[in-house]
């Protein structure tokens, strides 16, 4: 993987990349927990998703705060981030803050004897969708960077967040329950998300490859430049192709028994998470600003 110097876009670096990833996984875990509960999924899976949401999003947010300049030196100024609703970042600050409150109560309230009403989980999931969407919109509105300025980016981020969040919840439940979690009921969702993400990614890159000059440059950086290993090995290989292969193989009888073993399921979830991180790295890192002339 290229270091920070290898990124074509240098204003935002690793802290933002990792933040976008953690916020996506946390939001995705929450969305998955909500869905799994409605589908009467295993208790441990639902709990894992709910409890993962707040700490992951909080860790990402903390990273973002540490990446600020003057805001780190004068913490009171951070309150100013709530003050300009025309900015997607202000919008995001509100969504993140509300989501953190909702998800702490949703995930940890019961531990403190607090039983939030039924609609609470639904509202939390709605804000989780907001968190996942806004991370894409944050970059998507930047006209100066054509690779980001694409309506498909928020869609791509939401799909990736959902599948990474699902994987994080599954991995956690597998670890907590020492492998005794029934994940079969969620294979279809997992497969659908993989296919959708791959399709949107392909379309997103197609637009970049046929877009303005700066977007074409971004595209080349991703598929053949210094970021290519993160694309081919990380996103395409680990994040999409290998999980897809596992899913294909799990269909015939012979392999199904092997591939439903906890170690394999855990490995697959881990691979999806690697892909999710690489996606943020690639999008942020390859954001070539448009030329002046």
């Amino acid at each position: 993987m290229p270091d920070a110097q290898g990124l074509a876009q240098s204003t935002w670096g690793w802290p933002v990349i990792v933040y976008l990833f953690l916020a996506g996984v946390g939001a995705g875990a929450c969305l998955f927990a909500w869905w799994a509960e409605r589908r009467q999924g295993p208790e441990s899976l639902v709990t894992a998703g709910r409890r993962l949401a707040a700490p992951l999003v909080a860790a990402g947010t903390l990273l973002l705060v540490f990446d600020l300049g003057a805001g780190r030196m004068h913490p009171l100024r951070i309150l100013g981030l709530y003050s300009h609703p025309a900015s997607v970042m202000t919008l995001g600050t509100w969504i993140l803050s509300i989501f953190l409150v909702l998800s702490v109560v949703d995930g940890y309230g019961p531990l403190a004897g607090l039983r939030p009403p039924r609609w609470w989980a639904g509202l939390t999931a709605l804000f989780a969708l907001g968190v996942a969407l806004y991370t894409g919109v944050l970059l998507g509105v930047v006209q100066a960077i054509p690779f980001w300025n694409n309506a498909l980016l928020p869609v791509l981020f939401v799909l990736s967040a959902a599948s990474a969040g699902m994987s994080a919840a599954s991995l956690t439940a597998l670890l907590v329950e020492r492998g005794r979690v029934e994940l079969e009921g969620f294979r279809d969702l997992h497969r659908a998300l993989l296919v959708a993400e791959a399709a949107v990614l392909a379309l997103y890159l197609y637009f970049a490859a046929h877009g303005p000059e700066a977007a074409r440059l971004s595209y080349r950086l991703v598929v053949a430049g210094p970021l290519a290993p993160a694309f081919w090995l990380g996103l395409v290989g680990a994040g999409l192709a290998l999980p897809a292969l596992f899913e294909l193989l799990a269909a015939p009888r012979l392999w199904a028994r092997v591939l439903t073993r906890p170690a394999w399921l855990g490995l697959e979830a881990g691979l999806v998470l690697v892909g999710g991180l690489c996606l943020r790295l690639l999008v942020v890192g390859a954001g070539v600003p448009m030329r002046l002339l």
Binding site: Q9, T11, W12, L68, G69, A70, G71, R72, M73, R77, I78, G80, L81, S83, H84, A86, S87, V88, M89, T90, T93, V141, V142, Q143, A144, I145, G287, P289, M290, R291, L292, L293
Partner: protein
């Protein structure tokens, strides 16, 4: 309601960087953090390739994307002068404005943790002086004035010399015009 603006005539620009240095000297900026940068590009397609060097600074857009994205309101458009200004006391250094400026006109000030850019020397202009880069320009390639007044020297020169802004298609309505 003035709209401060500038004309930079590249046919008169000697690419000497005097403007860059004058800006650094006036505002006590570390090297590389000047409000004006000379940027070079190759344009056109072979064989009609041309190398162009132009001084770039904040274009004081009338529809500034940096103001739109700034979450704190630290960067704002001043209606009295039509310029885009910074309130450094509010800036948190998130650098969203830097990603959003299509002209690469903003620099991160490592020491202060804030983002800086050309302010069109409004405090000098209030005293009846010219911006430092205009005053120092050896080729008199720069003209500063009120674009809101069609009879001002700068407005007339822009019309006569057919000056154009950079990336007009973005709708940012820059207040800096170039003669190529």
């Amino acid at each position: 309601m003035a709209r401060y603006g500038m004309l930079i005539d590249l046919t008169l620009c000697a690419q000497c960087s005097a403007c860059t240095v004058a800006c650094e000297a006036l505002y006590g900026l570390p090297a590389g953090e000047s409000g004006v940068h000379l940027r070079s590009f190759e344009t056109g397609r072979f064989p009609a390739v041309q190398r162009i060097t132009l001084p770039v600074q904040c274009m004081h857009c009338q529809e500034p994307p940096c103001v739109q994205v700034c979450p704190t309101g630290a960067t704002y458009r001043d209606p009295a002068t039509g310029t885009v200004q910074m309130d450094y006391e509010r800036c948190v250094g998130c650098r969203y404005c830097m990603t959003a400026c299509p002209y690469g006109a903003r620099q991160f000030d490592e020491a202060q943790g804030t983002v800086a850019k050309c302010v069109f020397c409004t405090s000098r202009v209030e005293q009846g002086l010219q911006p430092a880069c205009v005053e120092t320009c050896i080729g008199q390639a720069r003209l500063f004035g009120n674009l809101g007044d069609p009879t001002s020297e700068v407005s007339r020169a822009i019309a006569e010399r057919k000056a154009v802004p950079l990336h007009p298609e973005l709708g940012t309505q820059p207040s800096v015009f170039y003669v190529f």
